[in-house]
Amino acid sequence: MDRDKILQAIRENKAKTTPLPKPFNSPAEKQNISLVTRFKDILQQVGGDCFEINGEEELTTFLNQHFPGAADFRKKETWEQYPPDSPKEKLAQLKTVVLGSRFGVAENGAVWLDEARFPNRLVPFIAEELVVCLNAKEIVHDMHEAYSKSGQNTTGFGVFISGPSKTADIEQNLVFGAHGAKKVNIGLYNL
């Protein structure tokens, strides 16, 4: 059987055991940077857009004004409209989708989305445009902090998304909207 043969060959060939280093300790100096400013800067660099809202209540008004007709997956009705077994042809019609994110990462402008946030895993990828609502207090410095937040608890499927889908495969010209969302807006609230 291949499994046993592979494992046996590894046992015979591997080097003497070296220790596993302790989890990476990111430096303390980072504490002084404004996480919101950094997050916004990098998000812009990776092609994402950002709008800022003071409180959570104003967010709803803002979304209604600027993204009318969006499918808001923070609402129960939208889950009922798009149950987990929705045909993919129906999901392919999604234009603008609103999702909530548990936290964002300052060093790369990414937001964390896991499958508690959408009924079908295709939703964040098949929509033309994403609006992700993020509590400004929930921005971490770097990926080390990010994984200590998401790490062990991840089940099923989870993804970091940093800006819109992109490609540079044609002569290194950057083009947004290769396969996933063409536009990604992050709505920061609780500033």
């Binding site: 990476f24 392919a92 295709l122 990828f125 770097d142 889908s165 396969h179």
Partner: protein
């Protein structure tokens, strides 16, 4: 199999394009530098990544077993393939069992290494590569020329022409935004039709059984979440112990590869979708044997970022159609698995060491290539021409009389012999390269004439 020098010669026939290739990859290298410098703990991250990989390889059997256990617990089905043939059988078996005939694929040098596409196509299965660059070269029936930028060797005019022919875009429209939009529509149809999605894997986490795939386009996710059956193909060396370690590798990977702070999508697949199937195929194909070669086992730390290729003065100027995995990392890995076919690759390097400097997991790339050359020569795996030349060179360099005489002959010869005697088929070095202009006298003669009796600066005779 034509040698690297022949392929490079082909590449260099179009001088303008070769200059563009060189310049473009250098820009990517500079973007990488900018990103690396913006992270003060960069060097510590590289060291940490290198040590994590070192440790994982030294306990690889245990981590693979732990990964399997967790993945099965998550609801995935785990398969093991000792070699390429077995791998192809397993994948086609899963496809047939599901009565499927339409497959989308993303991000996998491993399937390229194993020849999966032609194997499946022979059985009437339609395989669509979904990364834009990979789709382009699939249309052209070519292998990729760079692990991160597969179509880097093509100009937009060629791609416009190709899409006109294959996707019926407007003739003469070479606009990258227009062409990308056409590809998006075409591939979206493929995603919706596909019954099985195949992906490669960037990292496999032993602690949780998670499979992590990083893309900018989102093609892995479109494929995996749209098709009822998902298959992830992972080489045994892709294991890492903990979720925590992903923090280290995701910070290094995209910065090193393209100069981005992270890829657009970093996806963690930990179980099948409701009503779906998730398969993980663990592949050896020569890797466990490679692990036993003490001098070379470091190469298995590679996370396939391509930084070594973007910085390499030889690769930038000569293109990447050398082996399945290109550039420096190809030079390190390919001769192990296909000694006969790729034995000239370790010589396609100036040993300047730039590759080792940029490697995010600190592989001693140029040292490995240097050792390879010695090994290949000892094993007489180099071409007879090279062997004979090296033997002669050894004799000449061993004695000063012979050396003086040969120098004189060479200076006379390069100036006076007809070109075809020097730039002939036997002299691979002379392909696309000019010998330098010859000086009138040797260094020894010059030294005697100008410095004799005056002594060196430190007083030596």
């Amino acid at each position: 199999m034509t040698g690297y020098a022949q392929k490079a010669g082909q590449f260099l026939k179009n001088g303008e394009r070769a200059a563009w290739h060189d310049k473009t990859l250098w820009i990517v290298r500079q973007k990488r530098d900018k990103m690396a410098r913006a992270v003060p703990e960069w060097e510590n991250l590289r060291e940490q990544a290198s040590q994590i990989k070192q440790h994982t390889l030294s306990e690889l059997d245990n981590y693979l077993a732990a990964f399997e256990k967790q993945a099965v617990k998550n609801g995935a089905q785990v398969h093991w393939a000792g070699d390429a043939a077995r791998f192809n059988e397993i994948v086609s078996g899963i496809i047939k069992k599901n009565n499927a005939s339409k497959v989308v694929k993303s991000k996998s040098m491993l399937t390229e290494e194993c020849g999966l596409n032609p194997f499946l196509e022979k059985q009437g299965i339609e395989v669509t590569d979904t990364d834009l660059g990979e789709r382009i070269i699939q249309f052209r029936e070519e292998p990729p020329s760079h692990i991160v930028m597969p179509a880097i060797h093509l100009k937009k005019e060629e791609i416009g022409e190709l899409f006109y022919e294959k996707l019926h875009t407007e003739k003469g429209n070479f606009d990258p935004t227009y062409l990308t939009a056409a590809a998006r529509l075409h591939l979206r149809q493929k995603f919706l039709e596909a019954e099985v999605a195949i992906t490669g894997v960037n990292f496999a986490v032993a602690e949780t059984g998670a499979v992590v795939v990083c893309t900018n386009e989102g093609n892995a996710d479109m494929g995996v979440h749209a098709a009822p059956v998902q298959i992830h193909c992972v080489g045994i060396e892709k294991m890492i112990p903990r979720m925590d370690d992903l923090g280290v590798f995701t910070r290094l990977l995209a910065r090193s590869a393209t100069g981005q702070p992270i890829t657009t999508y970093t996806s963690h697949y930990m179980g099948p979708k409701p009503g779906g199937q998730m398969h993980i195929v663990i592949v050896d194909n020569g890797r466990s044997e490679h692990l036993g070669k003490e001098d070379y086992r470091n190469a298995l730390k590679c996370i396939r970022c391509g930084a070594c290729m973007n910085t390499c003065p030889v690769y930038r100027r000569s293109g990447g159609h050398g082996s399945v995995i290109h550039g420096l990392i190809g030079s390190m890995l390919a001769p192990h698995s296909h000694l006969k076919n790729y034995n000239d690759l370790p010589f396609a390097s100036s040993l300047c060491g730039s590759c080792s400097d940029v490697c995010p997991v600190k592989i001693d790339i140029h040292d490995q290539l240097y050792r390879w050359r010695q090994d290949l020569s000892e094993k007489k795996r180099t071409s007879p021409g090279k062997r004979y030349t090296m033997k002669m060179a050894g004799k000449i360099l061993a004695g000063s009389k012979m050396y003086d005489f040969s120098g004189k002959m060479a200076r006379w010869g390069i100036k006076n012999l007809p070109r075809m005697l020097i730039y002939n088929r036997l002299n691979v070095w002379g392909k696309e390269r000019e010998l330098p202009e010859v000086p009138k006298e040797s260094f020894k003669q010059w030294y005697k004439r100008t410095r004799q009796g005056k002594g060196g600066e430190n007083g030596q005779g």
